[in-house]
Every structure is written in structure tokens, then in C-alpha cells.
Subunit: 784 residues, 2 copies
Amino acid sequence: MKWSVGFHRKEKKMNNHYKVNEWSVIEEAFHPEMQEASESIFSLGNGRMGQRANFEEAYSGASLQGSYIAGIYYPDKTRVGWWKNGYPEFFAKVLNSPNWIGICVEIDGHKLDLHTCTLHSFRRELNMKHGFLSRSFTVSCEEGKMLEVNVMRFLSIADDEIGAISYSVKPINFDAEIAFTPYIDGNVKNMDSNYDEHFWDVIDSGAKEGSAFLISKTRKSEFSASFAMKYEVSIDGEQSDWPVELIHNQGFVGNKVKGRVLKGKEVIIYKYVSVVSSMNYPEKDLLESGKKSLERAFNLKFDTLFKNHQEHWEENWSRSDIIIDGDPLAQQGIRFNIFHLNQTYSGRDERLNIGPKGFTGEKYGGSTYWDTEAYLVSFYLSTANEDVARNLLIYRHKHLQRAIENAEKLGFKDGAALYPMVTMDGQECHNEWEITFEEIHRNGAIAYAIYNYIRYTGNKDYLLDYGLDVLIAISRFWKQRVNWSDVKGKYVILGVTGPNEYENNVNNNWYTNLMAQWTLKYTMESLEYAKNNDAFRFKEILSRNNFNEKKEIDNWSDIVENMCFPHSEEKNIFLQQDGYLDKEQRFASDLDPSESPINQHWSWDRILRSCYIKQADVLQGIYFFEEDYDLETIKANYDFYEPRTLHESSLSPCVHSILANRLGYDKKAYELYLRTSRLDIDDYNHEVKEGLHITSMGGTWMSVVYGFGGFRVKDDMIHLNPHLPDQWKSLSFRIVFRKNEIRIHINGSKVVIENEKGPRLEIMLKGKNVIIEEKSSFLQNIEN
Amino acid sequence: MKWSVGFHRKEKKMNNHYKVNEWSVIEEAFHPEMQEASESIFSLGNGRMGQRANFEEAYSGASLQGSYIAGIYYPDKTRVGWWKNGYPEFFAKVLNSPNWIGICVEIDGHKLDLHTCTLHSFRRELNMKHGFLSRSFTVSCEEGKMLEVNVMRFLSIADDEIGAISYSVKPINFDAEIAFTPYIDGNVKNMDSNYDEHFWDVIDSGAKEGSAFLISKTRKSEFSASFAMKYEVSIDGEQSDWPVELIHNQGFVGNKVKGRVLKGKEVIIYKYVSVVSSMNYPEKDLLESGKKSLERAFNLKFDTLFKNHQEHWEENWSRSDIIIDGDPLAQQGIRFNIFHLNQTYSGRDERLNIGPKGFTGEKYGGSTYWDTEAYLVSFYLSTANEDVARNLLIYRHKHLQRAIENAEKLGFKDGAALYPMVTMDGQECHNEWEITFEEIHRNGAIAYAIYNYIRYTGNKDYLLDYGLDVLIAISRFWKQRVNWSDVKGKYVILGVTGPNEYENNVNNNWYTNLMAQWTLKYTMESLEYAKNNDAFRFKEILSRNNFNEKKEIDNWSDIVENMCFPHSEEKNIFLQQDGYLDKEQRFASDLDPSESPINQHWSWDRILRSCYIKQADVLQGIYFFEEDYDLETIKANYDFYEPRTLHESSLSPCVHSILANRLGYDKKAYELYLRTSRLDIDDYNHEVKEGLHITSMGGTWMSVVYGFGGFRVKDDMIHLNPHLPDQWKSLSFRIVFRKNEIRIHINGSKVVIENEKGPRLEIMLKGKNVIIEEKSSFLQNIEN
């Protein structure tokens, strides 16, 4: 099962813990009971690695220690109540890796620990504009001895092997003996380990004056990673000559430096760390490579490192920022989402993907769900260069053979592929039969992403290079997965779980059947395109996929023409699945608030037989292929399904919000947008401590740009039909579209489109063609 | 999920390991690789306790140590992959209890261990007639030193707190120093412990010359049990004066006695053990009660104890034996089934029930499934006095409050009861949502057992005493579990698993809907009976169940009249569930033998969407209510469903065999009978080492008596329509019916009915009334 959330504004007090600020998330007091949630919210990442906002100094209160390296996982032994044939024996988990941020601090022999010392002031800031985390606090660990502490940390997005910390301590009213122990700790565990196993072995480590390193290797999966640190201590700007004690215990390395600091003087320790892994270097070179990266960082020093990092963030924002005027909550919310998306995935490495919790927690094991294709590709397509989204697609192409093997395990053959529901390395990482084996619509999203990418970029070569291999294998799966029903006189798809995971093992889920039919159609069109445009490579494709053009396509055409689509003529709607109308028909508004979210209050059978919908299902299909349906059909289905939808998945409100916008349901569109935008920052469901809902952040972006912005790409052209909520004075967003970088500004009376970069651009604005020359802008007055 | 087996005679070699003998199971050679299977086959029990046929002496080869006390369980912490709301946090497991059979034997300082010593001959016998286990073997543990060993063991069925062992050793060709260490070992574990926990703590123990005891207490469930032993050693018939060493280690108590035995002389140790528990005595009295029982046994001595035991078995057989002439395999098979049923449940204690593995293994946790009501009540009704089946019914009545609480957890209210799928103490012991929450037809079987009991015994008072409480609560459940479908204009039951567990979360399972409708009807009739026959107690029933006669019954009538029953007019059959005919229709014979049993070869989704049926489903309903259907309907449904049924549950072939008999499908009836009769003894599915399929043994009995015997009870009278397979010369079976004990003998040309005990009896034989006077017999010639 995938992550569930409950959104229940009515009954749940919004969490106002964090200060509203357009560029930052700010905490102005320390609440130990919020620490784990804040550790998630203030997480840092640079696409290559990331970590929760654990404190550098010791902290003995409740905390979820978490430091992660993208792509490094552990195949944990599956734990089930009752084994079912086909379950994976092991599955990959995001791995908590050695902790490299640690700096123990002692003041006159007392350990600095915010759980035991007395805080007088506290401020923490996640600065999203420049991508750093800072803390300032005054504290006394002994009565009357006041200390001022300022900490700043970042994970360089310019040099993604580097992290740096500046940690300053100033005794305010006493002369202090201060000891710093910067360290690397290899003794880490996963909280979600199935059998309480250790996942890492330390294979090498060392400490000398001024530096230390540790190399750890994962069991079974045999990834290794080197963590190397250097540091320097300065007192009042002068380098210290404090004596050094080497620390080299079992899996724990560092230095302890100790000296006196006079009242009012500031001592700063700068800690630099490099993290390199066997993902990018041979294991035998890790020590050397790690040291080299570390030296590079150490020589640049903190300020220059930070400057480079900051410039990179500026560039990120220049392509992806959204400005909402008049609604500070919405402004902070959308930037928080964009910030974390950019932290989680940089698009530089096609072996990586975007996990449900990114670098902010362990939960949900593997890294890749269909969320990537359904909710995230669009964001990266519009806010980064083409390679970023392309790498997400190539990730799946690289896993094609494993998807074929996965399908074979389930009895399919002849090159049919079923991509796993959850994966890290192409193998399935989930073990509920109703999800793993039956939530097969994910295959459709993977095909859709290819279509979406090509529609956006115009790059049809992708079909020849990679796309058709994947499309053929998925189409073969659908072909084998349907069966002919004599009774219905149609092809049916039995025993599936649709996007609405509050139904299991249903027949003819409309969405799944649609994705199957569409994939077959699109694959046939794509084959036709390849045949007509590059006969040589077309033959190559046929040959490498053992594709029998005549025979296979004939079969597909028959399925496309005779696919079963449940519907109700009376209600003029598509039916979510066979028999949906046999259910007792109730609305979300009929639900006693004390029973929601139902996944926390109802037993599973009750959820399954109710008509309640967890997340967009029929509407997800209509959203994907909006152009194929007239407004009346969209309206009838939206009007039927929205009242029955509980949005207990973080991936649901965005789709409904976009459609509500399309239908002119302004109030609903805004209400649904709010549900998605501040989900984490306001911790609607008291679960943020487990990590952030990273993948739903793509949906938030879509609900602004596709919803209120009315942005679409059709026929190689941007279409815009903006419509702002009353609460917003204006909305500006930036879009990368092929060779252009564009800024779109909308307010109640006008739309301004700036062609900031790239050639002359033709856009369809509210149904009318407009042309914007290079580096020009276009203004059109509108009535909102 | 429940136990699955695969029956595939075609491809699987029958196991001829055990010698065919009408009253015994005999092994004439020792095969270490078969030891665990034989430990199951040769298990002993007396209704109160039981154990696998582990060796008394040390055995270092593969073995599953298992000793069990009825009703004593441990609530093991649930283990699942993904938690679902409503799962039980703990569930009861059959508990491996301290091992009391152990006698270590040393010969000239060498441990006797059949895994390391050299065997020259070996014979093991399970004597079913007299209920004992014996072993004889010659062995040498040192080159050239030949030893003869004879062992006999029984668990007294006359005094169910007692077990006794006679263990004789004779050095054939040397003078030997022999040491015996009779012991009790409290250091036992369950193999199926979810978290590898110990379930027992030893709370008291002691050893003195000639005796030892150990009292253990289960964690959490706090059952305690005392194991006390005494022994005596005789050499050539004379009591020995060998010196005794006390053994009293951590959880391990005993005596070690050692002495010389001359060549050709026999030394015998008799070990007597009492097992008493807090089920029957206050914990503080356990030591005393255990000793008292032990003294009782010790004073009677082995031979008298055995004689009493044997007489009890004779009485058992006098009521339950079946004699099949002309088919020794079938003869041994049916006695093996009857023997184990009588070993597992004596019917003396209404807190006990019949677990799927009885006292023969740990698997499947709890003790009670719907098997009891659907497959076992009939056996005990016909072969024991009325109290035995009645106690099985009262067991459920005692759990009524917990069944109501179980339903409440799933959202039901107002006294609705859902009995657990698997239970020990009334609480649910299973955690697959598709079974635990959805296989609700079990409630119907519990109601049916009340009807079956009353039909058989004529004892309608049971309704007033207990039956109606249960029926009302179950009817309330059905009432709440249906919902009205506007589309169908019927009441529907959505999201269930029927008896065919190869379908999950289906709508309108015909069998489930039938059981729901029937229960409502039967409850209404029973209420009417109570009202008309005992107005005072009727009022009591209404009052103690808060029953609103007018309101509740009106509602029920509406459901009874408008229940949805899927069917196919074209095929003139009931449909197993909505949409069954949308599946690809294949036959069991189309299945590649290498893919069967499909539960071991196919992934779960593939099983679910196939048309293949695990066990009787529609046909189970037709079997229960055979009188309601004309032969044409039975035939149409049988002809449709039998070819699609894989019989991969041990509970399936018996029902099909009975119906095949009814339809005159002789060959099929016999083939299906064989599948059930020798399932364990021939270890069709190589899983006997885990334990025997105890509950399916009731089905085997039914397939003989109801199938070939054509035995039914209708309108307070026995009906007989016997029809023997060609392979059988004759069939005789004994039946207890109300005040009569009857012996029925059938062969190809005649039926003889002996009214052995009880008043004048009227019977319907092949549709004709016959009257048999007290102690007389009736003979009728027939054409088979």
C-alpha cells in the first residue's frame, strides 16, 4: 500500500508552528515534541545525498536520525504474515547511512544537549532561496552560564559530494572551556529494518590530527561509501592552536579539540565533509577520491563553497520559481514544494529517482513509484533542461529487463513487462498482493510519461532510442493481461487495483482499461512513426525486441477496438469498475468526522465495500486525456466522483483541483489546492515526523501551473487559460519549453508573457494565437 | 488463509512407505528423511493432550519436537508486512509444551541415537485398534555390540491426565552397562513463533529418587501445567536396585539410573507421567493434583492402565468403526481418519475444539475453523453420544460475546456477531484481510451446525438454551452486512471471500448470500418455534438479547425475499459470484501438471482471476441444502463446477464425492473419495511432516457414510440410499442415532441394518419405510 494521508481541515487545527515567510521556513521557539517533525521539514539535500535536520551537537530527546545517499539501498528480508507465491524474498530499502554532521560540544565539561540544557532563545531557519539551514540559540548548561550558538549547514548543490557546517559558540557572561568533537559515526541503523538487522559494516576508518574518515559497506547489496571530514577552529577570526585528541573507536572517528574562550569571544568550527560512493568510484579508490573531494572543498573554504552553492540555487529558482502575490501561506507553500523537489532530484544521474520521502525519512522502502511518471515528470519537464526528465525515463528503460523478469514471475511471457510497483533497482520492493500483483495501471503511467515527454519536448527520436522498447514490452503485457468475455462480448481486465487503493481485486477498472487501450494505440502509432521515418532503426527495434509486426499488432488492434469500459448511461458517467453502483452511495460529507481518515478508523473490508474513493481514479484518466472528453462528460464525472472522494492520498487533490479549475469550480479548486500545498508544512495528519510527501509536491506544482495557470502543451505549442482564485492578487511562474525560457505573469486584469530566453515563440492564449519575439513580452488584458 | 493441499495422483508417486494393514500403520524400516513425516503419522492423543511420535531416546537427526495440551495457547505477537486496521495485535497459537516422553539411554557410555548408531532392523507400529505406538529395533552403537529394543507408549484415553511408556533393552551378544535417564524437559520452543520468543517459563521443578516434576507457566496467557513422572526399572522381571543420580538442571529434571545387564537379559523401564493444568485445577494445587494423578497411575501399573485404555478404545470403535471389505487401502485409510478424530477430540470439555493439525503439529495457529461446523459436527453426531457434538456447539455459544466484540471492531453494532475465522478463545487468530475480514460465510456454518444438531438429535430445547442467542446475533450481522442495490433491485453482499479461497473480495458469492438468507429464515422459524412452545423462555431470550421482535424480523423478511443470487439462465447454474463468467473458462484438465498445485506455482493475482476453484463453493451450498434442489439443478451445477475445481483444499473432494454419488457418477465418486481418504498416510503433497489434516478427516468419514452409505437424516428419520463402488465387496458402518446404536452392512446384493441398541426403529431405506425392532436386524436385497 502506498502512503495515505487524511485531510480534515474542519476538525484538525492547523499547525501554526512555523512562521510564514515567502522564502523561508522559520521556527522561533524550540518544542521538543515537534523536533522529529521539524527534522523532516528542515531537511537538506542536493540530489546526491540528503539528511534530516538532526542537530550537530548531542541531542538526547526524541529524534529520528537520518542521513541518506541517493541510490544506495539494502535488500531487507521480506516480512509477511502469510507468504504468497511471487512475493519478493528481499526488498530494497532506503538506507540510513553514517552520520557525518556530528559535532559534540562540551562547555566546562558539560555536554551541550538541547534536551537537558536550558534554552533562552531559539531560532531555526530553512532558507529556501539559498538552500541552507541555520540555527541560533542562547542556552545555559550550567546555571548562569549563558552561551550563544550559531550554526549554518548546507549540502552543496554545486558540488554534490560536499557538505559544510559552520558552528559558532560564544560564552556571553563567562570564560569557558570549550571542547568540540567533530566526528563521523558509522554505527547507524534503519528504524524500519524488518528483523532489526544492521545494514552497514565499517570496512576502513582512520583519524589523524585535523581529519578523519570512515568507509562503510552495505551487506548483501555491497555498496560502499567513504565519509571524510576536515575541520578548522578559529577564535575571534584567528586560527586556534588548541590541542587535539584523536578519536578512533569502533565505527566512530573524529578529533576532540579543547581550549579556553574568553567571555564575549566567538569560537567557530568549520566542518567539511565529502561523501563519495561506489556508485561513482571503484571501491578501491574511495579513500583517495573522498580525500580529493574533501581537499577541493577545504581549499575553497566555507564562504566560497557557499557562494557557489547559492549561485546554483539562484539558477534553479530562475527556472522554477512561482510567485503568488496576496496569499503568503500559498507563496510559502509552493516554494517549499519546489525547493524540496529540487533538493531531491537534480536529474544528473539516470540511475536515480524520486522516493516518496526523498532524503527526509525511511518510510515506504524503495524509491520509485508511478508517482514519478504521473506527478513528477511534468514538473521537471517545465523547470529544468530536457535531460532531467529524460533521465527519469531512461531510468525505466534501464530496468526493462527486470520488468520483463518481474512479469515472468507472474506468468507472463514473450517479453511482456510489468514494472514493479515500488523499486530501487528495477526489482519489486512491495509485498501486498493487491498492490504488487494487481496495481498494474502503473505500467500505463510509464508509457504515458514517454508520450508526455515527447509531447513536451517534441523529441520523437526518443521513441527510436528508448521509448519503443518500453512501449512494446508494456503493450505485450496488456495484450496478455486482458481476456475475452463471451458474456460481455468485450475484452476485460479482471482482478486489478486501480489508482483508488480503496478497492482491491476489482474487474474492469475504467482507468486501468483506458491506460491499457491507450498504450496499445500509442505503441502502434509510434511503431508507425518509426517505420515511416527511420526504416533502418525501425528494423533494429523490431529485431532487438523480437517483434512480429503483423501478428502482434493485429491482436492489439482487436483489443483496442473491443475493450470493455464500464459506464452508466443513466448517469452519463464512466464507472470506476464493474458493479460500482451496487455499493451504498454515500458522500464524503456524510462521513462522521470522527471516522476520518477512514484508513485509520475502518477495517479494510469496510473501506473496500464502501463507495468512498481514496484518490482520483476515473478522474485521473480524464485528467491524462482531457482532450478526448467534452466538457459535459468531464463535468458529469467530476460531479459524480468528487463528492465520493476522500482525498486520503496526498496525490489526489491536485488532480481534482486542476479539473475543478477547468470546470470553473473556483472555490473547490482553491480548497483542493490548499490541501496539497501546505500538507507537510502544516502537518495536517501528524505524520510529518516520518518524512515529507515529496512526490505529491509535483502535484502541487501542477495544480498551480496546470490548474490556475491553465498551462498545457498541445500540438507543439503552449496553451494558456489562466484563472486565478480570488485570494490571489497575481501569479507568476517560469517555464522552460524547448528552446525557450518564459515567465508568465497573471493578475486579475492581464496576462504578461515574457520570452526571457530563446527564439520567437508562438503561444495559444485563451484560445488565441499570440507571437512573442525573442526577449520580448506580450501583454493581454483579460477578464478573470 | 487456510491449509491447502494438492492432489495430483497422475504426476505424484504414491508413497508406499507404510505397510497396508487394516488396523495398524506399520513401518518396517527406518528412513531418517521420513522421520518428521512419520512423527506426524504416528502421533498419539487422548483429547486432553497429545504428541508427535518423537523418539523417547535421544535423536540427533531432523525431527519436529511436539507435545501439546488441548486448550493451552500463547498469544503470539502478530507479524505482517503491512498493517491493516482491525488486525488482531496478538493471536493464539497451539503451544509446544514440555517434553515428558524423554528417556535417554546409554550403552557402555555410548548414547543410543538412531541417527548415529547402526540399525539392523526397525519396526514401528501405530495400533489403531488399541491406541498405542510401539517400536522394535536392533541396533549397535559400538561395532559388534547388538542390542534389542522394544518400546510401547500410550496416552490413556480412559484417564486423560496419564501417559505411560514401557522401554525395554536387551544386550544380545554382550554384557552391557546400561543407563536410563527418564526426564521432563521444559526448554521447549514453537517452531512457528513469530519473533523467536520463548512461550513458557518454568515456575517450579524438583527431582528425587524415583520421581521428578516440573511446572511451567505460559507468558501472557498465564496457563500453567504440571508434568510429573515416576518410573521403575526391572531386570528380567525383578525390580532393580541400580543407583540413582538426581538430575535437576535449568528446566530439565529427571533421574539417571545405571547398572549392568548380562547378555540376553532384558531390562525394562516403565515411565508414568501425569499432565495436569490450570484449565482444570487452581495453579496453587497443580503440584499436588499432578502427584495424585501420577500415584493413581503408578499404583495401577502399566498393564492395568493399558487394559483400561484399550477397553475405552474398543468402546470408541464399537460406535464409530467402518469396515470396508475388498479394498485394504480404503480400509486402512478410513480407520486412520476415525482413529485420529477420536484421538483429537473426546467431547468431554466444551472449552476445547478440533484444530487443523490436532496434536500433530504447530501449523495454522489457532484451533477452530468453520471446519468444525461444516465437516466435523456430523461425524461426532453419528459416532458419539449427543453431548459431544453439543459441546462443540456450546463452545461457540461461550464465545458469543467475543464474536460480538469482533464484529464491533469491524464497524457492526447492536449485538451483531461475526465469529472469528480462526480462534482458540473466541478472539480472531488470523491476519489476512481477505480471510479475516471477508470470509464471513463461516458465520453461516455456525448457524448451520445448530440446525444440523437439532435435525439429528431432535433436541429443540437447544434453541431455547443456547441456539437462539447465537442465531439472533449472526442474523443481526447478516442484516447489517447486506446493502440494497438500486441497480439490481436486490440486497447484495459485497466484498467477500467464499469457501473457494481462490477468489477474494468478490461480490455476491452465491454460497455466502445463501447462508445469509438461510440463517435469517432459520432464525425466524426458530423464534416462532420458541414463541409457540415456551412463551416464558421466549421472552427471556428476547430480553437477554435486547431483541425487538417486530422491527428486526420485518427487516429480515425483506432481505430473505429480495436477496441477490447470481445465476446464468443460459447454463442453468448458480454463479459463484458476480462476473464469474467473464473469466476465461478453463478446466482442471487443461492445466499443465507442472503448474499444479497452482498455489505453489502461480502468483496470487493469476489464481484470483482464473476460473479455477480451490474447493467446493456453490456445491458446498447445494450439499448443505440438497433437499431444496431438484436433481437436474444439482447435476447442472455439478457438471459445471466439478471440471473447474482443483480440490487444492483438503476439504473439497469429500463434498464433490458425496454429490457425485448422489448423481450416480460412480467413478468420480470413488476417485474423489480416494483423494481424501489417504491424503496423509500417503503424503500426497509432501507436507505431512508439518502435521496431519485432522479436520478434513471428518470429510472423509462423510464421503463414506453420506456418500457411498447414502445416509441422511430427514424428518426425524434415517434415510439410506447406499451405493457401493465396484472396488468394494462390502461396507459396514456403525451409527449412533438418538436412542439407537445401529450397524449398517451393505454389499452388492443386500443391505442389513442391525438395531443393536435402543428401541424399535423406523428407517427409510431406498425410499421405503422399514421398521426394525429392538435388537433385531433387517435385511433387504438390492441391486447395486
